[in-house]
Amino acid sequence: MAQDLAAQVRRVAALSNLALSEGELGALAGELSVILAHVAELHALDLAGVPPMTHAALDEAPPLREDSVCPSLGAERAAALAPEREGTQVVVPRVIE
């Protein structure tokens, strides 16, 4: 089980795009096993027929705004935030080998 969890943490870290060290992976596996043991209490509840609550919005339908063009940030200001850029383009390492 412990080894299973270590492998799962490694897989989840990859899914989360986190380059974690062996030390971090090991510590997380230990902490995760304690947390999962605690949340296992939810399995004791009979949830047959209970609908899931996915959101706290308390009014029935969210208001939709009119489908019209609004001012937005614009390429100039958006690109200005990028760690690396050329003009209004964001630069990243080569994607295609």
Partner: protein, 486 residues
């Protein structure tokens, strides 16, 4: 001393032109300089910006165009709020250097109301924590005892208000992040009903739980700030299309005829006896004031912690996927591929608590575990909500402790699960989407503040403020100045 006034008192002085916004702001900046070396509540102070806003307020007031009770009043923002032209880090290294290109709606509304914005306040990284110790920029110290945390995640906000370094502040509350620090610092903090205040421009932690609210020294001050920021926003589809009532109108109505429920599940073994005593005494005060107090039960409370940590982390793992070093924020240097750049940027940029929660959340969302964890937690959330629906058929509001203990020591090493247990009284409110307020109700023998929590029916912030104001009139602790910053 202007900084000793409450927000309401300053507002009246500004209106009568007994003091100017510039004088108030200059004094507040001096006060910040005096207390900051001790408490480290601010991540950044915007002197020039604040003085410019103060001068603009003075010009309006001179011209007879005062915008209302916040015009010229110095306030501060948790660093989760985008404010145009200011750095916004949410307490994380990964956002260092990110300068907001726009205002959050709550910030725009404070500006429209004429408030003077002093700067950005410390917080646990991405609001994940209850002590500000998870800030990448060092912890904030509790003004009542500098060796203790101010609570969190809005700990910079609560410490700054308690230390009179601002007249009020905005915080965010996902599982107690306004109410718990308010309790630990002896100030008033309000988490409105989900949808009452726009989340547009607020750095997201868990979108179905996050809500924006005020921290201030008095109940009336909280009402004034909430009034300015509440209301529908076309930029946030989860903001409710509801009329905003006058939150100050009922503050003097008293509590005679109201029914308060005291849930047995909120008085747990192991809670601090001094906290329990202070909250029980507050129950007696309400009875003496003419409220009816009845015992009630919220039987699914014990599952709130598990439910919260599965759902909040699942939402966080999605929300935080955007921090990839591509379009804004920090980027790891020297990566050879996009994948390596993203994974290393995140590994270098996020702190340990954020990584822990992303991993837990991604695990709970991943194939094979979704039904067992996330879906199950969503169903338990329904049961928690139903508990509240049922008791609110019989009572007007609930009274509980805000936290099981007073502020804990900085650097106290506890395993993550044990730390999460400190949030046990505040989580259900976010899961159900209802409003909650923490108001000071006493001090321990060691001089640490204790807060009580009032939980209300959906959209009944006015009822909570009325209840809290009635208590505050009987036991007003707002004038005490923390010894370490007196």
């Amino acid at each position: 001393m202007i900084w000793r006034m409450t927000l309401g008192e300053l507002s009246a002085q500004l209106a009568s032109r007994a003091v100017s916004a510039r004088e108030a702001t200059l004094q507040q900046l001096e006060r910040i300089d005096a207390v900051e070396p001790k408490i480290h509540a601010f991540l950044r102070v915007d002197r020039e910006g604040a003085l410019a806003m103060a001068d603009a307020a003075d010009a309006r007031i001179q011209a007879g165009r005062r915008r209302g009770p916040l015009d010229g009043v110095p306030l501060a923002l948790k660093d989760a709020f985008n404010q145009l032209g200011t750095e916004t880090t949410a307490g994380s290294k990964i956002l260092r250097g990110y300068v907001s290109p726009y205002d959050a709606t709550a910030v725009a509304r404070l500006k429209d109301a004429g408030a003077v914005l002093l700067g950005k306040l410390n917080m646990d990284e991405f609001a994940m924590g209850s002590s500000t110790e998870h800030s990448a920029f060092g912890p904030t110290h509790n003004p009542w005892d500098l060796s203790r945390t101010p609570g969190g995640s809005s700990g910079g906000s609560s410490a700054a208000v308690a230390a009179r370094a601002c007249f009020g502040a905005l915080g965010t509350d996902t599982g107690g992040s306004i109410r718990q620090p308010a309790s630990h610092c002896g100030v008033v903090g309000l988490k409105p009903t989900y949808g009452r205040v726009s989340r547009y421009g607020v750095v997201a932690y868990a979108s179905s739980l996050d809500q924006v609210g005020p921290l201030a020294r008095t109940v009336a001050d909280c009402a004034l700030i909430l009034q300015a920021i509440a209301g529908p926003d076309p930029r946030d589809a989860t903001s409710a299309a509801r009329a905003v009532p006058d939150f100050g109108a009922g503050l003097n109505q008293g509590v005679a005829g109201l029914t308060l429920g005291v849930p047995s599940e909120y008085f747990v073994p192991g809670m601090d006896p001094e906290v329990e005593r202070a909250v029980r005494a507050a129950v007696e005060t309400y009875e003496a004031l003419g409220a009816r107090v009845v015992p009630v039960s919220l039987p699914h409370t014990r599952y709130a912690l598990s439910c919260y940590y599965l759902l909040a982390t699942a939402e966080a793992s999605s929300n935080l996927a955007r921090y990839d070093g591509v379009k804004f924020g920090q980027r790891a240097a020297g990566a050879q591929s996009v994948g390596e750049m993203v994974a290393r940027t995140r590994a270098e940029g996020f702190g340990p608590e954020v990584k822990r929660r992303i991993v837990l959340g991604t695990y709970a969302l991943s194939a094979g575990y979704y039904d067992a964890y996330t879906l199950r937690a969503q169903k338990v959330r329904t049961l928690i909500r139903r508990d509240f629906d049922q008791v609110f058929e019989r009572v007007d509001a609930l009274l509980t402790p805000t936290a099981p203990t007073p502020a804990f020591l900085l650097g106290e090493r506890a395993p993550p699960l044990q730390r999460y247990l400190g949030d046990v009284f505040t989580l259900s409110c976010n899961l159900a989407g209802i409003p909650g307020l923490s108001v000071p109700c006493g001090f321990t023998h060691a001089g640490l503040p204790v807060g009580m929590q009032l939980l209300g029916k959906p959209w009944d912030e006015a009822g909570l403020l009325r209840l809290a104001a009635a208590y505050e009139r009987e036991n007003d602790l707002s004038a005490r100045i923390p010894g370490a910053v007196a």
